[in-house]
Amino acid sequence: MSRSRLERIILLLFLAVLGAAWIYYSREPAQSTQSFLVEAPIVGQLAPDFTVSDVNGNSVALLDYVVREGEGGRPVVLNFWASWCGPCRIETPHFQELSLRYRDQVAILGVNQGESLATITDFGVSFGLTYPLLYDADNNVNDAYNVVNLPTTIFIDRQGVVREVYVGAISQAVLMERINRLVEE
């Protein structure tokens, strides 16, 4: 074996050991991220809690569904919409169908942006919606989730952690895939 080849092999071995050591050093300790969670509408952080009324006047809070500690909660899909928003109208039937299919496994909540209670009610009736439509009178929920474009859909796991922020119309296949992922966790 020539000297230059031996030097190259030694260099490669050195880099392999160095790289492996760095990988080992930067590995994630179990549950390390949980202690750093803050309430924010970004992926990996706790979803901001809220309490608003649905079209029937019932009080709905995020913490009614998810659990921040322990077991027993269920995932939540927050869909921000408005009646004037074309893409929202396209995707609304998908939410309805999947809310029935995953009735006891996931909570789908439709959060309106800036419209009257009458408009929200009419929208729900015209699409035959059975999942809760929330009346966000002062856009507090929209603001808390930084919703600047409609539709926006936010996937929250059963511990209340935001798993994905999806901007734009969502197809039924994508919605089902995301819900399946949340349910199977």
Partner: protein, 246 residues
């Protein structure tokens, strides 16, 4: 941070806009790199277009096949909306296969072709990091460093910016050596080694890394293998070139 870019009353999805821009820049870079290396720019441009289109279609079709029951009742949804519903691995496989068969069909020499393609690939990866920074779900670990960025009152490593800097370093290496390359494949292997080595280092600062059950960052393992393979290839080609010259 910026899921949409507002122009007057219109709001455009940042990721979509940057993807279109990124493909345009990527193709331009491949064309210019081919010209600088004295290769057939039209042929390499076509190769890049074929690979990008095949990757896009492959990623979509893989996703559709995986979730066929949801598409069966609404065939139009296969082609619209397209703002999500892509399988990265399916796309990568189809893109690589398309590029391979295109190269074989047109009898392109592998190493010179890869030398010309690699700046485009790195530009593509830089754009992916930029999209992730502006409109993606990625974010860095907590830090008190002065260059940390504040997200919802918490300072974090701007890990995507680190990734972009690594990409720029790899591009710089290509630029430095492209006039005086000693052998075909040198530019590709050197840029790959630098980029994968850099990503191996900076992925440690990513909070939402792709993690194996034992806490190991999977991307770091892939990068280590790529870096070592590239360096080994560099050594082999250099030795072969020296023997041929002697």
């Amino acid at each position: 941070m910026f899921p949409t870019i507002s122009i007057g009353p219109l709001a455009f999805p940042t990721a979509g806009l940057l993807t279109i821009l990124g493909v345009y820049v990527l193709l331009s870079v491949v064309e210019r790199a081919a010209l600088r290396l004295g290769q057939d720019a039209n042929r390499l441009y076509s190769l890049a277009v074929t690979t990008v289109v095949a990757g896009f279609v492959g990623a979509r079709l893989t996703f559709v096949l995986l979730y066929w029951p949801a598409y069966r009742t609404d065939l139009l949804s296969i082609v619209w909306p397209l703002n999500s519903g892509f399988n990265v691995w399916g796309g990568l496989f189809v893109a690589l296969a398309a590029g391979f068969f295109y190269g074989r069909f047109h009898q392109l020499a592998p190493w010179p072709t890869l030398d010309a393609l690699v700046p485009g690939v790195i530009v593509g990866l830089i754009i992916v990091s930029l999209i992730d920074f502006l409109a993606g779900p990625g974010f860095g670990k907590l830090t008190s460093a002065p260059w940390g960025i504040t997200q919802f009152s918490v300072r974090r490593h701007p890990v995507q910016i680190y990734e972009i800097l690594v990409g720029l370093l790899a591009l710089f290496s290509w630029w430095q050596f492209h006039r005086d390359r000693l052998f075909a494949g040198q530019l590709f292997l050197l840029a790959t080694a630098l980029y994968s080595g850099g990503r191996l280092f900076v992925d440690a600062f990513r909070e939402n890394a792709w993690i194996a059950a034992n806490g190991i960052h999977i991307l770091q393992v892939i990068c280590l293998i790529l870096m070592l393979a590239s360096l080994y290839g560099l050594g082999q080609l250099a030795e072969k070139t020296a023997v041929n010259r002697a």
